[in-house]
C-alpha cells in the first residue's frame, strides 16, 4: 500500500471550478494551447500542466512547485484526475483505501442493525479522514483493524471481485442478446418487405404481359400478400426467444458459506492434535535409534504417529479429557472476546 502516507495538511480548497484553464505554475493558458493536459499527484493533489511536470520532475523527485506546499513528488505518480473537483478526487482515493480494508458485506452480519452500525462506523472513519479530523487516530484504527482481520479481508475481496466479474459477464451477454434480437427483428422486417415487393412486382408484370384475366391475377397476388401478412402476424405471436446462454435471472443469490472448504471425508473430525503440541523432534534415545533403524522404518513405521498417540494417551484417560472444561471453553470465549475488542476498538 503505497498511499498510506497521506498527510493531514492538505490545502483546504484545491482549485474548485476553473482550474482547467490556466496552469498555476507556468501560467500558460488553454486558450493558447488547446492540447494542454493537467495532471495531479496524489501526494498533495496540486494540479499542474504536463510540460511543467516534464520540466521539473524528469530528473528525479523534486518538491512541489506550488507555493507553500513543497512536498516531494515523483514523476511516475502523476495521473489525470477523474473528477473536476480535486477535493472529491482525494476523497475517492481515501474511500478506496478504506473500502479495501472495511469490506464486510451485509450477510456477514447477524442483523441488519449490526450491519448498519458497522457502516455508520466506517463512514465515521472515512469522514474524519477526508476532513482531516484526528487523522492519526483514524489511521491507527485502520491499521489495527487491518492487522486483526487480514484473512477476512482477503476473503471478502475475493468474493466481491468474483461477484463483480459475474455481473460484468451477465451484462455483456445481455447486451449481446439484445443486439441479436434487434438484428433478427430487422432482418425479418426486411424479408417481409422484400416478399411483398416481389409479389407486387410479380402481379404487375403479369398484368403487363397481359396473359390471363386481370381480376384473377390481382386476386392471386392478394393471396400471396395475405400469406405474408399471416407471416407477420406469426411474428407477433412468436414466443419470447429462449435464452441460449444459460442465463437464469431472478434467482436468489446463492449463499456461499464463507470460503469454500475442501471436501472433508471425516466431516469436521480433525486429525490435528487437540491436546498438547506435537513437536517434530523429540530428543529421546530410543526414538533417535528407531529413526535410524532400517528394520523399523522399512515397515512404514511413523515416528510422528507414535508421538501423537503417546501424547493422546498422556492426556486422555477413561474418556476423561484433562483440562477440556477449562481450556477449550476459554479458548473459544477468548476468540470471541478478541474480535469484540477489535470491533469496539474500531467504533
Amino acid at each position: 500500500m503505497s498511499r498510506t502516507a497521506l498527510h493531514n495538511d492538505v490545502p483546504e480548497r484545491i482549485h474548485p471550478e476553473d482550474g482547467d484553464e490556466e496552469c498555476p505554475i507556468c501560467h500558460s493558458k488553454r486558450y493558447l494551447r488547446r492540447d494542454m493536459r493537467f495532471l495531479i499527484n496524489p501526494e498533495c493533489y496540486h494540479r499542474m500542466c504536463e510540460s511543467c511536470i516534464d520540466r521539473i520532475f524528469s530528473h528525479g523527485p523534486a518538491p512541489c512547485p506550488v507555493a507553500g506546499c513543497g512536498k516531494t513528488l515523483r514523476r511516475h505518480r502523476f495521473r489525470a484526475p477523474t473528477f473536476q473537483d480535486l477535493q472529491l478526487e482525494r476523497e475517492v482515493d481515501i474511500r478506496k483505501r478504506v473500502s479495501q480494508v472495511f469490506n464486510k458485506q451485509e450477510d456477514d452480519f447477524d442483523t441488519l442493525l449490526d450491519y448498519n452500525n458497522y457502516l455508520n462506523d466506517v463512514e465515521d472513519i472515512t469522514h474524519n479522514l477526508i476532513h482531516n479530523i484526528e487523522v492519526d487516530a483514524m489511521e491507527q484504527r485502520l491499521r489495527e483493524y487491518e492487522a486483526a482481520n487480514r484473512q477476512a479481508i482477503t476473503e471478502n475481496s475475493k468474493r466481491s471481485n468474483q461477484g463483480m466479474r459475474d455481473e460484468k459477464r451477465r451484462l455483456a451477454s445481455e447486451k449481446e442478446q439484445a443486439r441479436l434480437r434487434q438484428q433478427s427483428a430487422a432482418s425479418e422486417a426486411q424479408a417481409y418487405k422484400a416478399e411483398r415487393d416481389a409479389a407486387r412486382r410479380n402481379v404487375i408484370s403479369q398484368l403487363a404481359t397481359g396473359r390471363g384475366d386481370a381480376d384473377t391475377i390481382a386476386r392471386r397476388g392478394q393471396t400471396v400478400l395475405k400469406k405474408s401478412k399471416a407471416l407477420r402476424e406469426q411474428y407477433e405471436r412468436r414466443p419470447e426467444p429462449v435464452d441460449t446462454g444459460f442465463q437464469v435471472k431472478g434467482l436468489k443469490k446463492t449463499v456461499k458459506a464463507g470460503p469454500v472448504n475442501p471436501y472433508d471425508p471425516f466431516d469436521g473430525l480433525t486429525a490435528k492434535h487437540e491436546y498438547g503440541i506435537v513437536h517434530d523432534n523429540y530428543r529421546w534415545q530410543p526414538l533417535e535409534q528407531a529413526k535410524k533403524d532400517r528394520r523399523i522404518m522399512a515397515g512404514g513405521y511413523d515416528i510422528d504417529e507414535y508421538c501423537s498417540r503417546m501424547l493422546t494417551d498422556l492426556y486422555v484417560g477413561f474418556g476423561v479429557f484433562v483440562g477440556e472444561d477449562e481450556d477449550v471453553a476459554t479458548a473459544g470465549a477468548g476468540m470471541a472476546a478478541m474480535t469484540d475488542t477489535v470491533m469496539t476498538d474500531v467504533s
Partner: protein, 788 residues
C-alpha cells in the same frame, strides 16, 4: 329521465338519451359489477361521455350499500371544471326527481396556484413558488414556533380551518372549483386545504391524472383511498405518455450546479443546527436507526418534497448506516452530484441501462445501490429536521435525489441517455442527461393493483387492444361505440392526390417537393373557399409547418387564402397561441371566418374545441408521425418490441393515428354539430383501419383515395346538405331516444335474448337500427398494398 339497467335505477338528467350512451352505461355497469374489472371504452366525442359516466356511477354508488368512492381523473383544469359542473347538474336533477337531497359530497382538486386565496402568495407566477411560500406559512413547525411566541407569519386562511369539524369543513354537496373559491372567500378558509382534507370524506373526487399517476404526488395525495374505489381516466388516449413522463427526469449542467449549491446550503444549515439545536439532529438519527416507517410517522400532511414510491419492504427498513448522519448524507449527495458532473463532460452520446450506470458509479465513487435508493426519503427527512421551508436551489437537489432513488430502484424499463449536444450540428456542448422511463406500465401499475375498477376512456382510443398491451393489464371489457346519426353530420375524406394526380404526402422524401407543396396549397385554398366560418389545419410538426408556409408564401398561395379567410398560426408560445385563438374566434363570430394553422401535437390539438362555426373543416396535412430520430423514442420502440412484442412501425403508426384522430375530433363536439374532416396524405389510405370505429364507419369507400377536386365537390355537396334546417325531431327514435324508445329497445333486447336462449335466432340480430359494417382488414390492406 329515469330508467333501469338490470335492477339499477339510473337517473339521467336529460329527457333524451343517445343509444350509444345507453350501451356505454351497460358496459360500465358490467365492469363495476366485476371484481377487479378493468375496461377500455371508446365513445365518440361529443356524445356526452362525461354525463353518461357520472350518472351511471353515481346511481351505482348510491344504490349499493358499500358506497364506493369515485376517482375521476381528467387532463386539464377546464375539463375538471366541466366535469364538476356536470356532476353538480346531475345531483340537482336527482334531488328534483327523488324529492330530497342526498348525502353526497363531490370536490375537485387542483394545485395551490389555482386555489390559493392569500393575496400575497397567489400573486406569484410560478406554481412551485406558490407551493413553497404556502408551505412556509403552513408547516407544522412554523406553528410550533408561533406557539412558542416567536414572530413568524402564518396563513390566516389555513388557521381558520383548525377550529372546524375535520370531516365537515364544507357543507354537503358538489363544489366546483369556482364554488370552492367563493365559499373560501366568504368563510375565510383555504380552498386548497379544504379540498385536501375533505378528500377522505368525499364520494366523488375529480382531479388531474398526476395526482394518481405521478408516484411523487400520488404517494402524498392518494395514498389513503380505499381499495374499492372506482377509478376513471377520461381523455385517456395519451395516458401512456403521462405515465412515462411522470417517471422521467432530465438533468442539465445548470441543474447540477444548482444542486451543488443546494447541498452546500444544507451543509451550512446542518452546522448551524449542530451548534444551536443538536438535539433535533440526534432525534432524527435515532428515528432513522429504527427505520423509515417510524420517521415517516412524523410526516405532515404536506411535507416539503414529494418522493417516488418505494417498495413497501424498503419503507420499513432502516436507513443504511452510511447515510444516517446528516453530514454523511450531504457528502454522499455531493459525491453523487460530482459524479454526474463528470459524466456530463463526455462528448459523445451515451446510452446505458441503470445497471451499468450503477456499476460504473460504484467503481468510481464507491456509492452502493442501497443507500442510493433511500436518497429521496432521506433528503425529505433531513429537510424536515432542519425545518426548512424554502431554501434556494433545493429543487434541483430534490430532482437529483429523486433520480438517485429511481435509478437504483428500477433496473428494467428505463434508459439513461446522455446527449452532449442539443442538435446534431451544434459544436458547443450543452449536455442533457435523460433518465427516461420506457415502460408506461410502471407508473400505472400501483393503480391497477390497488383499485378494484379502473376505466380508461376517451373519444379516440383506437386500437383498443394497444392500451392493455402497453400498460400491461387485462381489460375485461373493451368496447368501441359507433355513432348513431339521423343524418350523416360529418364527412371524413381521405385525399391522396392533387388535382394534377400527383401524390400528396408529407413523407420525408417528397415533403419539400414544390409540386407536393403546391398541391397541399391548392387543397387548402379550395377548402377555404367553400367552407363557411372556421377552418383548422394540422401539420405534423412546427418545422414542417414553417417550411411549407414559407413556400406557400413564395407561390402566392397565402394571398389566395387571404381573399377568403384570415390566417392565424399556432406557435410554441402559449400566450401567443391564446391570442391567435381569440382572434380566430372573433373572426368566425363576425362571419368572415378564419383558418388556423396548428400542429398535431401542440396545445390546440389536445385541448381546444372547435365546435359549430369555429370548425367546419379540419384538414390533417400529412400523417403526424413522431420525430423518429429522437434517441429516447428509439429506446422506447426497442423496449416495446422486446417486452410487449409491439413492432416499431405498428407503434409509430398507432401513435400517429391517435393524434390524427384527436385532430379530427376537434370539430365535432355534439350531435347537432357538423363538419368536414380531411385526411390529406397518401399514407392515410392504408391506415384507415386504425381510425376510431365511429370515424371509420362513416368513411365510405367512395370517400377515400380522392383527388383534390373530387374531395372539393364532395364537400360542397355535403355542406349544402348540412345547411338545410334539420329540426331535432328528425333525430328522435334514431339517434336520440325518449324513454319510450329506450323501453322498447330494452324489451326487444330481452325478447331476443329469450329467443336466443331458445335457440331460434343467432346472436347477430341484436342491435336493430344500427348497422355496423365490419371490414376485412386483411383484404383492405392487401388491396391498398397493390395500389402502386
Amino acid at each position: 329521465m329515469r330508467f333501469f339497467i338490470d335492477n339499477l335505477e339510473v337517473l339521467f338528467p336529460y329527457p333524451r338519451i343517445y343509444p350509444e350512451q345507453y350501451d356505454y352505461m351497460c358496459d360500465l355497469k358490467r365492469t363495476l359489477d366485476m371484481d377487479g374489472g378493468k375496461a377500455v371504452l371508446e365513445m365518440p366525442s361529443g356524445t356526452g361521455k362525461t354525463v353518461t359516466l357520472l350518472s351511471l356511477i353515481v346511481a351505482y354508488i348510491q344504490q349499493n350499500p358499500a358506497k364506493r368512492k369515485l376517482i375521476y381523473c381528467s387532463r386539464t383544469m377546464s375539463e375538471i371544471e366541466k366535469a364538476l359542473a356536470e356532476l353538480k347538474a346531475l345531483m340537482k336533477y336527482r334531488k328534483q326527481e327523488l324529492g330530497y337531497e342526498e348525502e353526497f359530497r363531490g370536490l375537485g382538486l387542483t394545485s395551490r396556484k389555482n386555489l390559493c386565496l392569500n393575496s400575497s402568495v397567489k400573486r406569484e407566477k410560478s406554481g412551485a413558488i406558490v407551493d413553497a411560500r404556502c408551505r412556509a406559512l403552513t408547516a407544522g413547525f412554523v406553528k410550533e414556533k408561533k406557539e412558542r411566541g416567536e414572530d413568524v407569519d402564518l396563513c390566516i386562511y389555513h388557521e381558520n380551518l383548525d377550529p372546524l369539524e375535520p370531516d365537515n369543513l364544507i357543507p354537503n354537496g358538489i363544489w366546483t372549483l369556482d364554488d370552492l373559491l367563493q365559499y373560501g372567500e366568504q368563510h375565510k378558509q383555504c380552498p386548497y386545504f379544504t379540498a385536501r382534507r375533505m378528500m377522505p370524506f368525499c364520494n366523488v373526487i375529480i382531479y388531474s391524472y398526476h395526482y394518481l399517476l405521478d408516484p411523487k404526488i400520488a404517494e402524498r395525495v392518494s395514498k389513503d383511498f380505499p381499495k374499492d374505489c372506482i377509478v376513471v381516466f377520461d381523455e385517456a388516449h395519451n395516458i401512456d405518455n403521462v405515465c412515462i413522463e411522470s417517471l422521467s427526469i432530465d438533468i442539465t449542467e445548470d441543474s447540477l450546479r444548482r444542486a451543488t449549491r443546494g447541498a452546500n446550503n444544507l451543509e451550512r444549515r446542518i452546522e448551524e443546527m449542530k451548534s444551536t439545536d443538536a438535539e433535533k439532529l440526534q432525534n432524527e438519527y435515532q428515528k432513522l436507526v429504527e427505520g423509515l416507517r417510524e420517521a415517516e410517522e412524523a410526516r405532515e400532511e404536506d411535507a416539503f418534497i414529494a418522493n417516488p414510491v418505494l417498495p413497501d419492504d424498503l419503507l420499513s427498513e432502516a436507513v443504511p448506516g452510511n447515510i444516517r448522519r446528516a453530514e454523511h448524507f450531504v457528502s454522499f449527495l455531493k459525491r453523487f452530484i460530482e459524479y454526474l458532473k463528470t459524466r456530463m463532460k463526455v462528448l459523445h452520446v451515451i446510452s446505458e441501462t441503470p445497471v451499468s450506470f450503477l456499476a460504473h458509479l460504484r467503481e468510481l465513487t464507491f456509492i452502493e445501490r442501497k443507500p442510493l435508493r433511500f436518497c429521496a426519503e432521506r433528503l425529505t427527512s433531513l429537510i424536515r429536521t432542519l425545518e426548512l421551508t424554502s431554501i434556494e436551489d433545493l429543487h434541483p437537489l430534490q430532482e437529483v435525489a429523486t433520480f438517485a432513488t429511481l435509478v437504483a430502484t428500477y433496473d428494467k424499463g428505463f434508459v439513461l441517455i446522455l446527449e452532449p449536444f442539443e442538435t446534431d450540428t451544434a459544436t458547443v456542448p450543452n449536455p442533457i442527461f435523460h433518465f427516461a422511463c420506457l415502460d408506461a406500465a410502471i407508473a400505472i401499475k400501483p393503480v391497477f393493483d390497488r383499485f378494484g375498477s379502473v376505466i380508461i376512456t376517451s373519444g379516440t382510443i383506437s386500437p383498443l387492444d394497444m392500451y392493455p398491451r402497453m400498460l400491461d393489464f387485462n381489460a375485461l371489457v373493451q368496447e368501441s361505440y359507433p355513432m348513431t346519426l339521423a343524418r350523416k353530420s360529418f364527412l371524413p375524406l381521405i385525399v391522396t392526390r392533387g388535382s394534377d394526380q400527383g401524390t400528396l404526402s408529407s413523407s420525408f422524401q417528397i415533403r419539400n417537393d414544390p409540386s407536393v407543396v403546391r398541391n397541399y396549397g391548392d387543397l387548402l385554398v379550395e377548402f377555404c373557399r367553400l367552407t363557411p366560418d372556421g377552418v383548422v389545419v394540422f401539420f405534423p410538426s412546427y418545422l414542417y409547418m414553417e417550411s411549407i408556409v414559407s413556400m406557400w408564401q413564395g407561390m402566392g398561395i397565402l394571398d389566395s387564402i387571404w381573399k377568403h379567410k384570415l390566417i392565424l398560426v399556432e406557435t410554441p408560445d402559449a400566450q401567443e397561441t391564446a391570442l391567435a385563438l381569440e382572434a380566430f374566434r372573433s373572426a368566425c363570430n363576425n362571419g368572415r371566418g378564419a383558418v388556423l394553422l396548428s400542429v398535431a401535437r401542440g396545445k390546440v390539438s389536445e385541448g381546444i374545441d372547435f365546435d359549430h362555426n369555429y370548425g367546419r373543416t379540419v384538414i390533417c396535412i400529412g400523417v403526424p408521425f413522431q420525430y423518429t430520430e429522437s434517441r429516447i423514442l428509439k429506446a422506447r420502440l426497442e423496449f416495446l418490441r422486446e417486452t410487449y412484442r409491439i413492432r416499431e412501425n405498428d407503434f409509430l403508426s398507432f401513435d400517429a393515428m391517435r393524434h390524427a384522430a384527436q385532430c379530427l375530433g376537434r370539430v365535432l363536439r355534439g350531435k347537432d354539430d357538423y363538419g368536414v374532416m380531411v385526411l390529406a396524405d397518401r399514407r392515410f389510405q392504408k391506415k384507415r383501419a386504425q381510425l376510431p370505429k365511429w370515424i371509420n364507419q362513416a368513411l365510405l369507400d367512395s370517400e377515400t383515395n380522392l383527388s383534390v377536386d373530387q374531395a372539393v365537390s364532395q364537400a360542397k355537396h355535403f355542406l349544402k346538405n348540412m345547411a338545410k334546417p334539420f329540426p331535432p325531431e328528425f333525430q328522435y327514435g334514431i339517434s336520440t331516444w325518449s324513454l319510450e324508445d329506450l323501453k322498447a329497445y330494452q324489451a326487444k333486447l330481452e325478447e331476443e335474448e329469450i329467443r336466443m336462449l331458445e335457440g331460434e335466432v343467432g346472436p347477430e340480430a341484436v342491435g336493430p337500427n344500427r348497422v355496423v359494417d365490419e371490414f376485412d382488414d386483411i383484404d383492405e390492406e392487401a388491396l391498398m398494398a397493390l395500389d402502386p
